[in-house]
């Protein structure tokens, strides 16, 4: 499968024009990870978002006492790492490969290249990220309500 097809599967790039997807394909890079490899560490500086192409990862959060807690498991075509792109904060969790995993990596800088060429395309990507974040927030609110 080529990068264009891989990108088209993701909610992140819904509504984008073929030429926009094509440029994003140029701007993304494949990265491969073996089981237990860390894609990025909690607390690290985030400058990329990752789209799962193959395999699965655990989202691991380290508590204050140092104990690790798996808060979610993601598989293709989920994406992760988008929060640091939006709020420029440090990584909120560690991502660890559960199996042989391939991701497409889009750096902040490369996304900026895309934004300069395709302003509307970039806006749609941001809207898509916001949608996902909004969905997550709603779910979290729901869970909180259920616990109250």
């Amino acid at each position: 499968m080529n990068k264009v097809e891989e990108l088209q599967k993701s909610r992140l790039f819904e509504g984008l024009l073929p030429e926009e997807i094509e440029m994003l394909a140029e701007l993304t890079q494949h990265r491969k990870f073996s089981r237990e490899d860390v894609v990025f560490e909690q607390g690290g500086v985030g400058d990329s978002l990752y789209l799962l192409v193959e395999g699965a990862v655990d989202v691991v959060r380290k508590r204050d006492d140092g104990a690790e807690h798996v808060i979610a498991a993601l598989d293709a075509p989920d994406f992760f790492g988008e929060m640091s792109l939006i709020d420029k904060e440090y990584r909120s969790a560690t991502i660890r490969a559960k199996s042989e995993t391939t991701v497409l990596c889009l750096t902040n800088e490369n996304l900026h290249s895309f934004a300069r060429v395709y302003k509307n395309g970039f806006t749609l990507v941001v809207i898509n990220i916001a949608r996902v974040l909004s969905t997550r927030l709603r779910k979290t609110n729901q869970k909180l309500l259920e616990k109250m």
């Binding site: 509504g15 140029e26 890079q29 750096t107 490369n110 509307n120 806006t123 749609l124």
Partner: protein, 339 residues
Amino acid sequence: MKALWLREVQAVLEREDFLKWWQSLVDLEQKLLAVWSRHDEFLAQVNLMDFRAEFTQKNAIDSLYLAGEYEDTAAQLLAEASEIENKSYEAAAHFESQRISASDVFSRMGAVENNFLSAQTEVRGLGDSIKSEKDRERGEELRNLLKKKEAEQMRLENEFREAAVLYERENSRKISLWEEVEQMWARSLERNLGVSERRVKSKRARREAERLFKEAEQHKRSSKTLQAEANEADQKKKDIQQAIEDLRTSSKRLFGCLIGEEFLYWPRRENINEVYCVPIHDHAEDFNIELRAKNVYFISRQRGVEFIEPLPPTGEVPEEEDARIDDFFQRGRPEHTAP
């Protein structure tokens, strides 16, 4: 070198002379890679052969030392054997003297024993005579004589016992001296046998040393041959590198570009702050994006290839009407999220 429009760069890349030039460059680089690897392999073999030669020579020298050590040990054993043998003659002489002394004591002991037995017979005879004697006076005379004879018999018995003890002592000493002589002969023999064994070992070690010296020489010759081949490969490598350099230099003249180690560059006519760059090879991971050889990308003059941007697929920034964002704002709420 002048700045080009994108279409002009693309036209250059499609020209037959460019395709020929690029193919020659790729072919030369592949040749260079092969020769480089060959050169490295030869150098590794030269090093290995030099090491083997050195190692074998060291083993040969060690073997030679060992042969010397065996010879020294043989000489030492021979000297010890001679010394022990000489001492054994002395011990044999002592034994001989002791043997004579013991024989002498034995003879004397025999004589004393004979005297003692005679005295015993006489005492027994006198006892019998006293019993059969009727004459009182003669009987008294015989009893006096018997007393004298009994005293003599006792003395002779004591003398015999002393002689027997002396003989026992002298004979033991004789036996002990003989054992000593035999032990010396055994030690001497052991050393003599050790001498021959060490001499054989020494010869074997010398032969091994000679063989190893020859082997080391053979390794040295092989190393020289390999070094010659490595030099030849190195020369070829330099020739190819020069040919690549010539080819790269010619690109400036032929295509009006700048050439780096891995890219061709043309200043961008559309934007004076930007440069078109064309990678000579594919790169999957070394840059911020995946690069394909002969594709056109652009970079800023300041950052160079540290940040490479792809051309928009159309080659131009699209300026068409785009209603997608308006649609997002104008679209109603999804059914399932309605309160």
